[in-house]
Amino acid sequence: MNKQKAIPSIDRIKAGIQSMKEDTQFANDRLRWISNIKGFILGIFRLAIILGICYVILGPVIGIISSSFFSDADRYNPMVYLIPQEPTLYRYELAMQYLDYWKTMGSSLLYSLTLMVLQVLVCSMVGYGFARFNFPFKKVLFACVVVMIVIPTNTIMLPLYMTFAQFDVFGIISAITGDAVNLLASPVPMYILTLFGCGLRSGLYIYIFNQFFRGLPKEIEEAAFVDGAGTWYTYFRIMLVNALPSVVTVAIFSMVWQYNDTFYARLFLISDNIIISKKIASIEATISNVEKILDPTILELFLDAGIVLIMIPIIIIYVALQKQFIEGVERSGIVG
């Protein structure tokens, strides 16, 4: 009996499927459904990947921030994860004291800000020169800019060190003072390098500006020329203003990278009191010596507090200018 009942029902289903196949309205609905479901699954997949990667990036930052508030007891309590039971500001107090925070931070910011202004001025000038003027050996010279990007400064660190240990301009300085000057242990070498377009990643900035200026329409300059503007006036008052997106990009890059840089600071023996990202390296040892805290896991907490302290200005700059920055990077010449 079951069989008898089953056979017509299968037939009915078959007929139903047939009619469904012929029914275009239903077919459309079905297609839409399938694509909706597909889109939904893909969306979830995408969300999972993006969330996961954001976690990988943000996880350590959150970990550092939370552990900088840990008290000694929290550190040894295995039940405590991320949220301390007895939050304390003691780590920050000591870290601020031994970093000499406000003073070091002030000079550190001043150092990277002045270098940033120099970088933007010099690199935009050079980039403009390459983008808009025709002169002999232009291609060879621009290849030299690319060489500067490709060959890292680490290759030439020794000669640079020697050059500034015995700094001289064609024998002029030694003629006046009797001996070459030792410029190490001061930020002067960095300023000299940046002024002559060889600072921290200057090659990259020249490249960015060059690409951006090449993308600007020539008519702007022609109009300025017809109206009687000189070359320098055109550059300062018209081109530089138009290049604002890449100016913002280069400004943030150079500011932040300079602030973070320890390679040049180490190479030129620049004092810890000027560069806070160099000073942070010794904070654990200092606190351990002076405060007689010998437990390395506790000392790490002080380091975490110090790290948070030096991250704050970068994060503030980044959050404030984030939109212009990302758009600037996308629109300006990084893309060759």
């Binding site: 990667i53 990988v56 680490n154 020794l158 070459a180 060889c198 320890t262 390296a281 970068i314």
Partner: protein
């Protein structure tokens, strides 16, 4: 005198005057390049062929020893060969991973969705927080996060753990007949995912910009012709971002070289052991090898690159 000046001015054509001005614009860089960069490069080469002794009063003496430093570096030095090969090996492994990962992420982030700006800002965070101290502290914090990503590599090493065992999956895949090399490569990549993410911030931005520069009409045509998403990727997106792959490969290679252990070794040799000649050899050889890799890779890619303009 006024007449003389105008006369002199008239003799030069407009293009000559423009050339002069161009030279003026690039003058600061040109001086710096010759004075610091080219001269230093030359000096590095010179140092690598000599024994350098620092005079007490300042200055130094060069004693030309031909290839002795090179022979010492490759025959006698305890760790140079090993450090060099591991650094180069890591570079060769990382470059394709970072390139494809950043292309994939760029395609993901290029779509419109809510909170896109926030996500992009987060993705670019590692580029901003690249200070040595911060990076060290972060990797420490990463190992502290139990159950986090980087513990998977520890799990691989221990090969036994509670709950989900990675070893089990690796065995499953190898019994499926996948070559061990591929399995190792992929599991290695997964356990280093945080390094890869941190190294690909700039590359992702470059690819996003590249994707946005593709004219939308191309996708319309592909859609009308009935291409699937897969076909659209390989026939439209991939060829159009091809030129930027070169940019990214160059950036990645240089970046990973700057952070590699060879550089650290060269720095130590120079400033701790005071062996300047040997340090120059270290830097020089690794720079030359990197440049060689760049030339080969770019040559290979360039042949297959399609330029739209």
């Amino acid at each position: 005198m006024e007449a003389a000046r105008t006369k002199k001015r008239k003799r030069r054509s407009l293009s000559q005057r423009r050339a002069m001005k161009g030279f003026l614009f690039i003058a600061p860089w040109l001086i710096g390049f010759v004075w610091f960069y080219a001269r230093s490069l030359f000096m590095t080469v010179q140092f690598s062929f000599s024994n350098l002794t620092v005079r007490p009063g300042g200055g130094y003496d060069l004693d030309f020893v031909w290839l002795d430093n090179f022979i010492y570096a490759f025959r006698a030095h305890a760790s140079y060969k090993q450090v060099l090969t591991t650094s180069l090996g890591n570079m060769l492994v990382d470059v394709p991973l970072i390139t494809f990962f950043s292309l994939f992420m760029a395609m993901l982030l290029n779509r419109k969705f809510r909170g896109r700006t926030l996500v992009r800002a987060i993705f670019f965070l590692p580029v901003i927080l690249n200070s040595e101290a911060i990076v060290d502290a972060m990797s420490l914090a990463r190992t502290m996060m139990s159950g986090g990503i980087s513990s998977s590599s520890a799990e691989l090493a221990a090969s036994a753990s509670s709950g989900m065992s990675i070893e089990y999956y690796i065995q499953m895949f190898s019994s499926l007949g996948l070559p061990d090399v591929i399995i190792e490569y992929i599991s290695g990549a997964v356990s280093r995912i945080s390094d890869i993410i941190n190294a690909s911030g700039v590359q992702i931005i470059i690819f996003i910009a590249a994707l946005q520069s593709i004219p939308g009409s191309m996708y319309e045509v592909a859609k009308i012709e009935g291409a699937t998403a897969y076909e659209t990727f390989w026939k439209v997106t991939f060829p159009m971002v091809m030129p930027h792959i070169i940019t990214n490969v160059v950036y990645t290679v240089v970046d990973s070289f700057t952070k590699s252990e060879v550089i650290e070794l060269a720095y130590e040799t120079a400033f701790t052991n005071m062996n300047y000649g040997l340090s120059s050899v270290f830097s020089l050889v690794s720079t030359l090898i990197t440049c060689l890799i760049l030339v080969i890779v770019c040559g290979l890619i360039q042949k297959r690159t399609f330029y739209y303009n």
